[in-house]
């Protein structure tokens, strides 16, 4: 507390302090669970965005020869399937197969036919997911026998395929994308309604507050999940409708939190001091209320996202979620549960993906709360 006596210069040296946000950030960085979760979440989000671009299988491509193949790090097809599959394809083309040989990535089939071999039979081969670039390599003089060559298409299904023969990993990427998007969108809807409603009620106070919160109480006692189910059942399964509906339920909590915070902030002396300075209502809300409400709101938001994702999965599980061929984690898990016996990967991998997302978001939310409101100090 020394008194500096030298004349004031405009470039007076200053010491920068650490704001509460910076403090919180430091504490959050020290929280290993939260940081690990953040890392996992970011990786999953990036994978869901970039994955579909680089992964060879589109999420809606059906490989009818690979229905429900187990997850494997080895390429499909397995060697022992190649010969029978080629024979099957050629028998569809109604030609006789003399021999089939596999050499590395190539397969050679000697075929004979009663008539001249029609070169268009290569289509039957190409139609199979196992082969590509089928061509007639040699034709005998009479044209009744020929050698057909084709490349064996090596496909990787590291998470297996579903009951329709679609690559599960590609579908999980898509599902994560949809689930996160619904989670975020619904949260933003809840946030906007809730903050506006809660802040208004809290700041105006008095009778307005009374009426507004009474309404929230009534809405609380309504069985909203029923209404959402009714809406979805009656008006079709609609991506947009769903997150609006979910957001419309969840804003109630947000409104309560924001109102409570605003009310308690309004009674704080620094708000009174600002009033004494003559700061306008808008100025008080902007400079003193909002920055101080942000903390709890941020925490609630991070914890709301997993709640919404869970709710969406629940609706999807009931068969009321997003529609095929789009998918979400809830849809995948629901399918997995039906195919549990014999195709456990269909339940396992989507469940792991969902659990990771929810875990991460919960730990980040908890970490954020601890960081913003350190009780141990």
């Amino acid at each position: 507390m020394s008194i500096t006596e030298e004349p004031i210069t405009l470039d007076e040296p200053t010491i920068s302090g650490r704001s509460l946000w910076q403090d919180a950030l430091v504490r959050l960085r020290r929280n290993k669970a939260a940081m690990t979760s953040l890392f996992i979440l970011v990786v999953m989000a990036v994978a869901s965005l970039v994955g579909p671009l680089v992964w060879p299988h589109p999420y809606d491509r059906v490989y009818s020869e690979y229905v429900r193949v187990p997850a494997s790090l080895e390429a499909y097809p397995h060697e022992e399937r190649i010969v029978p599959e080629m024979e099957r394809s050629l028998s569809r083309a109604r030609v006789d197969v003399a021999s089939v040989e596999v050499e590395g990535d190539k397969v050679r089939a000697e075929i004979t036919d009663d008539d001249e071999v029609d070169p268009r039979i290569t289509r039957y081969v190409d139609r199979s997911d196992l082969f590509s670039n089928a061509k007639i390599a040699e034709t005998s003089a009479d044209g009744r026998s020929a050698v057909l060559e084709a490349d064996v298409a090596r496909l990787y299904f590291i998470a297996g395929t579903d009951g329709n023969g679609r690559d599960l990993l590609a579908r999980i990427f898509m599902a994560i994308r949809i689930s996160l998007a619904i989670g975020l969108l619904a949260t933003v809807v809840a946030l906007m309604i809730g903050v506006a409603y809660g802040a208004t009620a809290g700041y105006l106070g008095g009778r307005v507050d009374n009426v507004m919160m009474r309404l929230v109480d009534v809405l609380y006692s309504l069985p909203f999940i029923f209404f959402v189910i009714l809406l979805v059942v009656f008006f079709g399964r609609n991506f947009v409708l769903m997150f609006i509906a979910v957001g419309a339920i969840e804003w109630l909590d947000m409104a309560r939190i924001v109102r409570g915070q605003t009310l308690s902030l309004k009674r704080r002396e620094f708000v009174e001091a600002a009033e004494a300075l003559g700061v306008s209502n808008a100025g008080i809300v902007r400079r003193h209320i909002i920055p101080n409400v942000l903390g709890p709101v941020a925490v609630y938001m991070t914890l709301l996202v997993p709640k919404v994702i869970l709710l969406e999965s629940f609706l999807s599980f009931l068969g009321l979620g997003v529609q095929e061929p789009l998918t979400s984690l809830g849809v995948l898990i629901s399918e997995g549960a039906k195919n549990m016996q014999g195709a456990s990967w269909l339940l396992l991998y989507p469940s792991i993906a969902l659990a990771l997302i929810l875990f991460s978001l919960n730990f980040i939310g908890d970490g954020l709360r601890d960081a913003l409101d350190p009780k141990d100090r």
Partner: protein
């Protein structure tokens, strides 16, 4: 206290009325009807059916009719389960759902309280982290994942318990459904108790009883736990109402004849009366349990008064 209960019930009636009204009209503006089957009925049959179920009358008359029937305790006939009234369906299913829900709730309260208390007493120890981790797991993993996994492990792989089915209420058939219902509740109760208990243990009045040399058992059981149980009590109202009225997930996966399955099926089939019946029954449960919770809360905390 009696006047308080009566007053609470009186204020619940408008809420119920609002719920019934919204549900009724929301359902009716939706396209489709209970008899729009894939194979269309003959016009004559359709007409008869509509007359029997009063669907040919104006909507407002149907609404008034429903309300007046409701006042007489009549939930109406089911449109889809033709031979049953909605009342019959609930009379058959509700005991099953209540039995499972109540068992799960009791289990959750006991285990959750014990786990939460231990975690709070050993804050920041390995046990604490373990409890918190398991609790987060329990809250995170949805029942529609837990149920099939449990059924797969204990029912199919190990073969210890039936993988599904009700078996007329045989005990082994109940175990997996109860566990599935209880797991998330255990997790929530444990977290609530832990948080509140940590706060209570740090409070001035617990410091006082420690300063007066009361044994840890008394400090925890008498003074800290009573304060810590308060947030759980508030949570229990809605939770109990939800649990006792059946879970669609558990009932579907384990094939249990409760009432949890009705709502979605009924909504998909446009079984108007069954949908309404479910809404009414669930709402009544919510109202009653919220009131019970408030009474218990006031009994536990003398600072709360009835008026």
């Amino acid at each position: 206290m009696l006047s308080y209960v009566l007053r609470r019930l009186a204020t619940a009636i408008p809420t119920l009325f609002v719920i019934i009204t919204i549900s009724f009209f929301l359902m009716r503006v939706a396209p489709g009807g209970p008899f729009n089957l894939e194979r269309p009925l003959e016009a004559k049959v359709m007409e008869n059916l509509n007359r029997i179920y009063h669907l040919n009358e104006p909507l407002w008359r149907q609404y008034l009719l429903y309300l007046s029937n409701l006042l007489h305790g009549d939930l109406g006939p089911s449109f889809v389960y033709r031979d049953f009234s909605v009342g019959d369906l609930f009379a058959a299913g509700l005991p099953v759902s209540i039995q499972l829900g109540a068992s799960a709730l009791t289990l959750a309260l006991i285990i959750g309280t014990v786990l939460g208390s231990i975690a709070a007493l050993k804050q920041n120890s390995t046990i604490d982290y373990l409890v918190v981790g398991v609790a987060t797991f329990g809250i995170t993993i949805p029942p529609f994942v837990i149920a099939p996994v449990l059924s797969l492990i204990f029912g199919v792989s190990l073969g210890w318990l039936p993988a599904g089915g009700w078996g007329n209420g045989a005990l082994p058939n109940k175990i997996l459904p109860i566990v599935t219902l209880a797991l998330p509740q255990i997790a929530i109760v444990a977290r609530l108790i832990r948080g509140a208990m940590i706060e209570a243990l740090r409070s001035d009045h617990v410091r006082t009883v420690r300063a007066y040399g009361l044994p840890t058992r008394v400090v925890v059981m008498v003074h800290a736990l009573r304060a810590a149980i308060l947030p759980v009590v508030s949570y229990l109202g809605p939770a109990a109402a939800a649990l006792l009225t059946g879970s669609i997930v558990v009932e579907t996966i384990f094939g249990i004849p409760g009432v949890g399955r009705y709502f979605v099926q009924a909504a998909l089939n446009r079984d108007y009366t069954l949908v309404m019946g479910t809404v009414v029954v669930v709402s009544i449960f919510v109202v009653v349990f919220n009131m019970i919770v408030d009474l218990v809360y006031a009994w536990l905390d003398p600072r709360v008064r009835y008026d």
